[in-house]
């Protein structure tokens, strides 16, 4: 979403992240800065948690537990309004959503680094909880016994936004949402992220 000033753009972005996470967590979201052409990062603290960017939630109607570990680098970049006004907007430059079990063991990781050293620049999924498998091969293949670590593969996905992760928790892990209008809030967040 374009804004006339960096402070306004970052405030709107932080409010969007807060609204999405409010769907299932009780926490406070901060940005590390709002200077233009610099990288900043999202920081959140769940109530009662001294470690940043990790949040615990009850699943399966309250009898299970999962953790979300988030890393989200953003940049405030100059934009250009069709009316000729100079504006700024917040763009992600690296997003990583780790879903962990109650003890911190990795289950799945959604990752997207559109710039940086990795040759994989598109959104991807890692599945470390699946461990390693032997891919079936024809007899005599040198790969016949080779194990493939599914956590190391970069499985392509479409763009995954924070709202998708919150909805995943609610729909697939049966997390009880904290607000009744969660789907409307997530839809509004998705619309804002697409601007």
């Amino acid at each position: 979403m374009a804004a006339s000033a960096p402070e306004e753009a970052v405030d709107a972005f932080i409010a969007r992240v807060q609204a999405a996470l409010d769907g299932v967590f009780l926490l406070t979201v901060f940005g590390s800065g709002n200077r233009v052409a610099r990288s900043h990062t999202v920081v959140f603290y769940q109530v009662g948690q001294s470690q940043p960017n990790i949040a615990r939630l009850r699943t399966h109607g309250g009898v299970g537990e999962l953790l979300l570990e988030l890393a989200y680098i953003y940049a405030v970049v100059p934009s250009y309004h069709a009316a000729g006004r100079h504006t700024v907007k917040v763009e992600p430059s690296h997003c990583q959503y780790k879903i962990l079990d109650f003890d911190g063991n990795e289950i799945v990781i959604y990752d997207w680094a559109p710039c940086g050293p990795s040759p994989v620049r598109t959104p991807q999924l890692h599945v470390p909880a699946a461990g390693s498998i032997v891919l079936g091969q024809r007899a005599g293949s040198p790969l016949a016994q080779q194990r493939t670590l599914l956590g190391s593969l970069h499985l392509p996905t479409g763009t995954i936004v924070l709202e998708d992760i919150v909805e995943l928790f609610i729909r697939e892990f049966q997390v009880v949402p904290r607000r009744s209008d969660w789907d409307a809030v997530l839809a509004a967040g998705r619309a804002a992220s697409a601007d």
Binding site: V10, Y72, P117
Partner: protein, 76 residues
């Protein structure tokens, strides 16, 4: 220095640079067992470039710390 609890109560949503740097230092000590400054120096020197960090949980924790690097640079 304000704590994050105080910042939350006052409605601040942008961390003061000294708080950002302190959070990064805390996370560097927890994940990489070194100060934030030491980690930044090693990262900038390319010490992690040749490692396949995304191949192991420990390496992925280093990636997570690297994604917090903007915190450590907010005072610059």
């Amino acid at each position: 220095m304000l704590t994050v609890e105080e910042l939350a109560r006052t409605g601040h949503r942008i961390l003061p640079p000294e708080v950002a740097v302190a959070i990064f230092d805390q996370e560097a000590r927890r994940i990489a067992v070194m100060s934030g400054e030491e980690f930044l120096a090693k990262w900038d020197a390319g010490d992690y470039c040749d490692e396949h960090l995304d191949a192991t949980p420990e390496g992925r924790n280093i990636i997570h710390l690297a994604l917090l690097i903007p915190l450590g640079r907010e005072r610059a």
